[in-house]
């Protein structure tokens, strides 16, 4: 193992990204001895690890979603607190993706690697903002690793939604959004825009919203769709997991306007595939300018790209005079529109 040659001590094996001198995996896709988990989304927080290191919020989310299978031993790591694991020092720094999401900082023999997990740079009322940690190796996500992806300002997208709601008082606006993070952030943004009316929840989103509220995040008045009268939901906003959009479930709503909140919505083809009537370009992942900005700010001389559209980002990183490498990790989904339903 040579500290300057990162691939000699940090590399993907069949379980996930492995740090050899620390003897742990980061976001392994299957059960392992020791896992550091960046955040609670299903393709990062897998069941049944022996030791799980994560932020207290992520551990709580894992308990909530995986219950018995949340892992044998939980080790809470507060942001910035250094833990020694094997020969390496490890600490977490906020990633700004969802509540509790963290980057993993690894220091070994004078070299520092940062594994970003998923992240975004714009402010989010429901979680701590991304912190830039200068490093030698930066392992970045690339969900939106193409220059066509520039997310619109959040307030503009929320304004479009609220205009549409006001224009069609007889219809409900059904928003499909990732059940952990995106759903709560949208509600918080809608509240910040001055919309005080009750917001209705699909059963699969209730638990996570309640958890966010317990954590002190204001979401206003939330009501369950289950048992509600059709007419009560006219002119209002309903939150559901993406899978419910085309489901028979949505028939209980008054002539639903199908909305979908995702960075993919910037590409018309993607919105049309889903039969979306009102696409909202709101994402919890960095868009292209944010990815480039972040890579620059970390000052890393080498950048690895974990999942997404790695070709374009690697090309750009090379143009920036840095060494780029695409890490093909198994078990990662095209995030931001996969079906993420809380149990």
């Amino acid at each position: 193992m040579t500290p300057e040659q990162f691939e000699t001590w940090l590399y993907p094996d069949e379980t996930g990204l492995y740090c050899a001198p620390g003897a742990f995996h980061i976001d392994p896709h299957r059960a392992t001895e020791t896992a550091i988990v960046t955040h609670g989304h299903a393709d990062h927080a897998r069941p049944s690890h022996k030791h799980v290191y994560a932020s207290p919020e992520t551990l709580a989310i894992m308990n909530l979603r995986l219950v018995q299978q949340a892992g044998q031993h939980h080790h809470a790591m507060v942001s910035g607190e250094v833990v020694t694991m094997g020969d390496v020092d490890v600490w977490l720094a906020p990633a700004g993706h969802v509540l509790g999401s963290m980057q993993v900082v690894i220091e070994w023999q004078g070299q520092r690697a940062v594994v970003s997990g998923d992240y975004k740079r714009r402010p989010d009322p429901t979680c701590a903002s991304f912190e830039v940690v200068p490093c030698d190796l930066f392992v970045t996500e690339a969900t939106f690793g193409l220059p066509v992806f520039r997310h619109e300002p959040d307030d503009r997208e929320i304004a479009r939604l609220l205009t549409s709601v006001a224009e069609q008082p007889e219809r409900a606006h059904l928003i499909g959004a990732y059940g952990l993070g995106k759903c709560q952030r949208l509600i918080a943004l809608i509240r910040a825009a001055g919309h005080d009316a009750p917001i209705w929840l699909h059963g699969a989103t209730e638990k996570m919203c309640a958890f966010y509220q317990e954590q002190g995040i204001e979401l206003g008045e939330l009501l369950p769709v289950a048992g509600a009268e059709k007419k009560d939901m006219a002119g209002s906003i309903v939150m559901a997991p993406p899978s419910a959009l085309q489901d028979r479930w949505s028939r209980r709503l008054p002539d639903a306007v199908t909305c979908f909140a995702s960075g993919w919505m910037r590409v018309r083809g993607r919105a049309r595939q889903r039969g979306v009537e009102l696409p909202l370009i709101i994402s919890d992942h960095a868009d292209w300018p944010e990815l480039i900005q972040t890579i620059k700010e970390t000052g890393a001389r080498e950048v690895w790209v974990t999942h997404g559209r790695e070709d374009a980002l690697c090309h750009q990183i090379t143009k920036m005079g840095k060494k780029a490498r695409a890490l093909a990790l198994v078990g990662r989904e095209d995030e931001d529109d996969s079906e993420d339903v809380a149990p």
Binding site: R268, A271, Q273
Partner: protein
């Protein structure tokens, strides 16, 4: 530009036909001439502003966007205009942009070398949506889920008219349709199309269902062969001759060998074919002649065009459309006798007296190299559209083969980012090596959206190699492919090509080793090509052929 961009954006995301009609009609009501006329032309696909797309875009992007990033983005988005619109640097203070008419006027009159800079200036001032609409407009093919007919329907709705009234005059008009809107607004009479070779909306057939056949009153019908070319309308008036495709596009420029032989005032309905002597060439040969701006003398000689006539709609001042089919047929036969023309002949009718004989003839269509049968009610008038109960098409049963998926390509538009275009192959036996797959065709239809998602996922998990938007995959899925015919093709490695292939069933259950072999495919060629050469030529001799 802003109002038009907003209209297009809303159309893209509006699934309901009625809501689309309302959006367009509302736009016509709110927008002054000539902008609304240009918008109608754009929606109906009749806007003829030819900018050299490739060169213009290359000039636009040069120095602004990294070519590699552009290529990868284009590959992902699946649409050139949208890719450029999304990549273009954002304006801090976007503006409404110029009126639609100004854009079109500028593009039409500008020196073509000045167009990229003009376009860049507009792109700099517009927002993402405005840029997209502008570029879609200039590259043709809006793809906003509006057909030419729906656009006309919206104009009809705006003016409280029937869409047939608009279709009847449509080809006598040109953008920006001032006279049309004046009529629709009630301030002028219907536009005068007298003496113009306009398109008469075609009469189309319904597919024959099994239950139709059992209840069909055979005596009331006459059968015709369904020829394997493209349906056309020849419309001539005052020395001006048009050859219209089924959708009303004038394709006459590509077929001077037909157009120059027509004189007089008349409207004929027929099938466009390539014919050598009495032999109909494969559809592939006709394809060489389609979609060409200019035709070389060699083309005209090697692929001679021919129209086989089905019907006559107008002769001189007489509109025959109200007449019964048998009256029009007599008229057509008489006209044909007095106007001999080696480029035209009559499609023979087939007299059939009972249901069983009809079935027998239909069963033979495959061996006879004919696409199928048409059944026409003797008393049917010539009605626009697809009226029920008058005409039936009875296509011959397709052939099927079990093939193996070899390559998958990302689709475009609605299917961008989905691997939706499939190249499939069959096995070839080698003496000294393992069996090998060779591609025999490509298809992108015949499966449901759900199956598309399943195959897409499978492709991503079983990729061998990537070539831009194409992935080669490990042999793993059997596609049962239905197709109309197979012919020899030196351009393909397998030496064969399929006509009208579509995915019939996805055989997740079938092991790939059990898919068909090339010998089986070759055997099917023999059948269809032989038949084309020998049998059909015999039938084309007589004008009326009685099979009983």
């Amino acid at each position: 530009m802003h109002a038009f961009a907003t209209l297009l954006d809303r159309l893209v995301y509006t699934p309901s036909r009625n809501a689309k009609l309302a959006l367009i009609a509302d736009y016509f009501a709110r927008t002054p001439d000539p902008d609304r006329g240009w918008a109608l032309a754009a929606l109906a696909g009749d806007l003829d502003i030819a900018i050299p797309v490739r060169r213009t875009f290359a000039q636009l992007l040069d120095g602004r966007v990294d070519p590699e990033l552009y290529r990868l983005s284009r590959d992902y988005v699946g649409d050139t205009a949208e890719t450029v619109a999304l990549l273009w640097p954002e304006s801090d203070r976007p503006e409404q942009g110029p009126p639609l008419a100004d854009v079109i006027e500028t593009i039409r009159t500008a020196d073509r070398y000045a167009i990229p800079e003009r376009l860049a200036a507009w792109l700099d001032m517009l927002d993402t949506n405005g840029r997209w609409a502008l570029l879609k407009l200039l590259t043709g093919g809006l793809r906003v889920g509006v057909s030419a007919r729906l656009a006309k329907q919206a104009a009809a709705q705006h003016g409280g008219k029937d869409v047939a009234e608009i279709e009847e005059v449509w080809h006598g008009l040109s953008a920006p349709y001032g006279s049309l809107f004046a009529w629709l607004d009630g301030v002028a009479d219907v536009p005068d199309i007298t003496g113009l070779p306009v398109f008469r909306p075609l009469m189309l057939a319904n597919p024959l269902e099994d239950k139709d056949l059992e209840t069909l009153d055979v005596d009331a019908f006459v059968a015709e062969w369904k020829w394997d070319g493209i349906r056309v309308q020849l419309s001539a008036a005052n020395g001006d001759v048009r050859l219209y495709s089924r959708s009303g596009d004038d394709i006459g420029r590509a077929f001077p060998d037909i157009v120059r032989t027509i004189t007089g005032n008349l409207v004929l309905d027929g099938e466009l074919l390539v014919m050598r002597g009495n032999i109909i060439a494969p559809f592939n040969d006709l394809q060489q002649r389609l979609n060409r701006k200019v035709v070389s003398a060699k083309m005209l000689k090697d692929f001679p065009a021919h129209v086989r006539l089905y019907d006559i709609l107008r002769d001189g001042d007489i509109d025959l459309r109200e007449e019964a089919w048998h009256v029009r047929r007599k008229h057509l036969e008489a006209w044909s006798k007095t106007h001999p023309n080696p480029r035209l002949d009559l499609s023979p009718t087939v007299i059939v007296n009972d249901r069983n004989a009809l079935k027998e003839i239909w069963n033979d269509t495959r061996t006879n190299g004919i696409e199928g049968l048409m059944l026409k009610r003797r008393e049917s008038p010539y009605l626009a559209g697809r009226p029920k109960g008058h005409w039936f098409k009875w296509k011959r049963a397709p052939l099927t083969l079990d093939t193996v998926l070899m390559y998958a390509e990302r689709g475009s538009g609605k299917r961008s980012s989905f691997y939706s275009d499939y190249t499939f192959g069959v096995w070839v036996t080698h003496e000294d090596a393992d069996d090998e797959l060779v591609p025999v065709g490509k298809a992108y239809s015949g499966f449901t959206d759900k199956e598309l998602r399943q195959v897409d996922k499978w492709v991503r998990g079983n990729t061998l190699q990537r070539f831009g938007p194409v992935r080669s995959v490990a042999p793993g899925i059997v596609f049962e492919v239905a197709f109309d015919a197979v012919h020899r093709s030196p351009r393909h490695k397998s030496g064969v090509a399929m006509r009208f292939p579509r995915i019939h069933r996805i055989r997740w259950d079938k092991p790939v080793e059990e898919a068909d072999r090339l010998e089986t495919v070759m055997a099917l060629i023999g059948e269809t090509e032989l038949a084309n050469g020998d049998e059909t030529s015999g039938q084309q001799e007589g004008e009326q052929l009685s099979l009983l």
